[in-house]
Symmetry: D3
């Protein structure tokens, strides 16, 4: 067609063939323990992306200059956890096999598990930066060891908790408090604390897993278990910018429940965060 | 306390010891395939019950005269299907062992599976009246044979489709259409059609499973997969009244997603339906 | 000013001096027993009036041709019942003393009490047409004899229940059921039943009190205690048209809680109902 | 990719090359006179399509068997009316030049103007079936002759009002009332009245323009100027089925304001209506 | 029952017999002057409590270790002010007579009046810490001296304004401004200012009355008269922690209108504040 | 009438004859590029004004002491840009010709164009203080040089960009970034930065144009293109107070989309901002 039809993919998405960076929705919420609904994140974030500028005042770049593609949402059947985790694992491996940097977004935080495991398979000295309101390191939730509230514990079991750097954590069980204290993984909510985390990693491969509920729920209400006392936009943006040029090997930006985002501001916040992440991925010292 | 404190159980609930009828919430939504959220039905329905009269103009009785108890919501961990089904089965068996008539309410329609199976274990000549917008008799949904969209097929596999009487059905897959056509289980949406269904059962034991989305979504928007073209309130009430004095052995009233019920009318509708059901249970020829 | 500034009064309102019909908001909700909020009806209805045509297909007249004024909302302080009732009584008397036909709208149904009493003072053979979902004739509500759920009982105590014609009633206490049965005031929800009510009144002075929750909550969710099973738009409109040319001495159109009217359709329905009422008032055989 | 990624186009959309029927969003709302927002219809309808069955109980066909494509939303800049109308005209011409049957959806009703004009250029004996709550035949709205409330008047000026068949109309200005009366274009809201309209057209080429606000706002609140008293789902579906096998040359399904569709039911209704329309287009005697 | 049924009381509530601390809902809103609705606080806060951790990162304790009970909501009939105030007074006296520390929550701020008066009857050297956006010390509101906007003036009349320490106040009438200035009760919104307030009280008995609208409405929109410029979460939590081990004799946490809390974050904030308050009550030097 | 009827104009509005300051709604949204709806600002702000105190703690004055009038909303037909701009220009000129200080509020930011142009016609050494999230200085938006996103560029073309002082800007195109950088118009979001802007203007005539989306969307979600990272209430209020006694010649306060203001807090914020602006206008060294 010679006319301009808009397919509702993320603003500025190119064809897969032209892309060095791959954005894809992982929108599933089967273990969410209170309010679910992140299965619908994909629609909301893509629609919101048309309400933002393609240019970033923070990084002074335009999304239109970055070679990225949006693949759409990976199909993940509601209620089928094993299948969802396995399909994400193989999809991200295929994306990386094409030489594309993976950025997953949308669904519950459990979905970071196969993404981080995939990164660790290739990079055994991997460090994980975990930005979140919740610790996510319980031994189990109602006897299930692998849920949105426990997945990082399972990562820690395998890669070692000393390789996980946490930021923004303000809620958890007594058990999680003890683990976090022992490994000293939790820091104050200042940009300096985050910077010292990142500096400590030197040139190690880094995976960034970002639960957007780290933001204060005044700004980001669209999440299942909002936690007052979170960080604000300036800390998030400054924190992301600290990662420019680092040896990043993967990123995710998860947990948007658009049906609880009555003001629509949460979807805007995730869309703009993804815009910044795509620009940062483009600077990574690592190229798959 | 000498002061009157209101515990938010269903309006008119007595202590379990005084009850011949047991209301209990089964609020879980783990296989819901589009919009979920029926896990929150219990709060919404109980709150709504305080906005209705205890007296019914339809049956000219008062809820305060019926010996029923509301047990609260059975704890069912999000995302754990096998455990949820098994806990419901054993809870309903325990309720019946106390000589109480069970009425479950709230969550997704899959939860009727253990309730009907429990009834069938005792009453091998059981008939099921299935009132719903959706056929729920697929062989599987995304390879899973036991979900909110397939559970009645699994019932039919065991008790025989000829023992299932459907009403209100207006959506399904091609496969479901064929099965329903073969067994002639689907009828027009008139009170006469429903009456002929019920009359055909004579004195057989009856289990009523009611998916509230049988109502037109103009009246009942609070559901995950709304289907225009549904029945209205008068048909629902007249239909229920046809069951007074029948040999009912169990009932459920399922599928309320209160977070999609923006007007609050759906919760009112479920609360009032339960008021009527409790009165009908009190007339059942069967006493557990 | 030579420019056209829009003051948010009801569409087509003239200056008080030009008016034979007086519209005024009585927006107070101090005894509402479940969800309140009709104090905000005035804003919502006036805004909605700008979304409708001034011409009525039902009566084939234009609002712009009817000499009516909208006085705004009578100031009624929240929580002060005696003062609210007394201020309404004296305001409506002043309106009538100017030769204007009064139409009150917006707030809870208790506010009809002083309006009807004022009509009865002048017209001792008054009949009241009561269109509502609820009977409103209890002896008391939580020991208070004068509330939104009891006011019509107090009217009946004074003017005689046989002079009250009810329509649309489908909810009430056992006591109300007995009173209504005794006086045979409740009728089926057909236009014929309403017509026989009206015909029975001959040329007697009539006051119409309309609780908009008589409408089915699918169409009119913006009310505190929605009752499924209500009348639809065609019956309301046909019913109103039956009053053209009758000896009407006052009307009200009450109970809009705009903050529970999530779709905005309830406010539209009240605005259009007022448009029709204003046209009907213009035909009344009575002129104050 | 070997994994299944879901691009949020309408459920069952094929590639343009495989299609005989072309669905496309025309989502613009620049002349909407009260509540606007139909510019966002595209996202909402496509998302809603994933909540419905691909099989229709009404026509007993599956969407997956119909060769149609969804092109996405035609880009139409907010506030630029002339450009929007001109871009739609040339896009629909290009679609037809590919031998594809055009079905436009989403935005305000003015957008039907270039679609109908394009049909009339090819088919000079064109008849228009206009299903709507509003007459849309004013000479002008605030001095503008071409708006969502006047466009059909402009069509009538050119093709003759006698070639326009209206159904569902219940609101308009006094002027519109007179025009409609003169041409006797308005009929009762029964399926028989609609059938006689259609039968009167014989084998003439037909364009169907459907403003979804013809539905009662209880079912379809997601529109800018809701009009109580509309048709219900069964009449809409039966009406559509009357068009199977007719000489249809184009269709549209317009006016969804998803941000006023607080229950989400309106978007479901439009998605299901489009499912039926696509099946009907597939039976048209006309093939472009 | 051997199965786990969840009664929707506050997370971690024990039976009254085991409790040293008594939580109870006082949910009534009869004098609220703009948007009301705090009558519904009880349902919302209890539901929200199931979405939070029982463990507090702020005090490093678990709610499960604190002997408290939730009595439910005291029944307070809408619109009956004298009865509501009197019932609260006698209920709190009964609670204290059982040796339980009272924490009331939910409704409008007027309800603190009988709670504080009850404390003052026992502790004549009582000091009140008043945390709020509004001064609440007017002589009257629309001629009524005892409303949600004046109650603290009535307290001051009796116990002396010099015994009231205010924090967070940013709105009031000119009269209130003058009173507050004269008694120097208002301080800057810093934790130091609050600390100096508390330090000045030494070992005196303290009653804490907390209107949650002291929080900025970005975080806490669920209130009738939101005031921008409020405190944020960190100041609230730090302020509460200053009260650990003090001679507290009662607390309340009031003003949640859940139907205006469209994001649900306000209910979360009140639930978490109550969790912290319960822990602080457990440390009080005073034991009733 | 001797009774107190409330006409829903801004709290404290006097008759035009008594006024030195003129408030008027300019509520039109025809070029809004994402979410529109500011056409409805007038209703929302006036209703919200009744929920605030007439006294300001910030300026220690009462609105009741300031001679201002609210004219209502200037009628501006949807979709007719040229007419809207021209009508605003002539209305503001008429207001000024009466010796009244103009304060426009409500609609999209394009509407500031005729207001500023009118000020510049009289005051050729005018300086504009532009407080906003967006730069609004593009050459064009989709080929249109005069839209809500470009109007300030057109102002700059005429009065010189060096006479525009911007504050709060955090979003724009690459082109806007370059222009802003060249003219050094953008400053950090501190009160000191704003003060240096204002100080630099000395006694020059100042027009203040305030797009309320300069506020962080956590506090002000009711806007079409929310931008995280905005200023908070204290900076806005302190900034406004810097203008007391300056040579102000006009002000506006624009961009409220109440239908996206789900919490109602944005309308409260605009109402309170207008209260402060009216007090500041009263101190202006300039009197028209």
């Amino acid at each position: 067609m010679t006319h301009e039809f808009v397919i509702p993919l993320f603003l500025g998405s190119r064809s897969p063939e032209e892309a060095k960076i791959a954005l894809f929705g992982t929108c599933w919420d089967g273990t969410s323990s209170f309010k679910a609904g992140s299965r619908f994140a994909g629609y909301a974030v893509r629609e919101a992306s048309y309400g933002m500028e393609e240019f970033s005042f923070y990084q002074q770049e335009s999304l239109l200059e970055i070679p990225f593609t949006d693949y759409g949402d990976l199909f993940l059947p509601p209620g089928q956890k094993e299948r969802a985790l396995s399909d994400i694992a193989s999809a991200v491996n295929e994306i990386k096999s094409k030489g594309q940097f993976p950025i997953a977004f949308g669904g519950e935080h459990l979905l970071a598990y196969p993404l981080i495991m995939s990164a660790w398979e290739t990079h055994k000295n991997l460090a994980v930066i975990h930005v979140d309101a919740h610790a996510d390191i319980r031994p189990d939730l109602w006897d299930d060891p692998l849920t949105h509230a426990t997945f990082l514990g399972r990562i820690g079991d395998q890669i070692g908790f000393e390789n996980i750097k946490q930021f923004g954590i303000r809620s958890g069980s007594k058990e999680e408090w003890k683990i976090a204290k022992h490994f000293d993984t939790i820091r104050p909510f200042t940009i300096d604390a985050l910077k010292s985390h990142i500096d400590s990693l030197g040139n190690r491969p880094i995976y960034l897993t970002l639960d957007m509920d780290v933001l204060d729920p005044s700004l980001y209400p669209g999440t299942g278990t909002p936690e007052p006392g979170g960080i604000f936009w300036d800390v998030l943006i400054e924190g992301l910018k600290l990662l420019r040029g680092k040896y990043l090997v993967g990123m995710d930006c998860l947990e948007l429940s658009p049906h609880y985002d009555s003001t629509g501001v949460s979807a805007q916040a995730m869309a703009k965060t993804l815009r910044e992440m795509i620009m940062i991925a483009n600077t990574s010292a690592f190229q798959p």
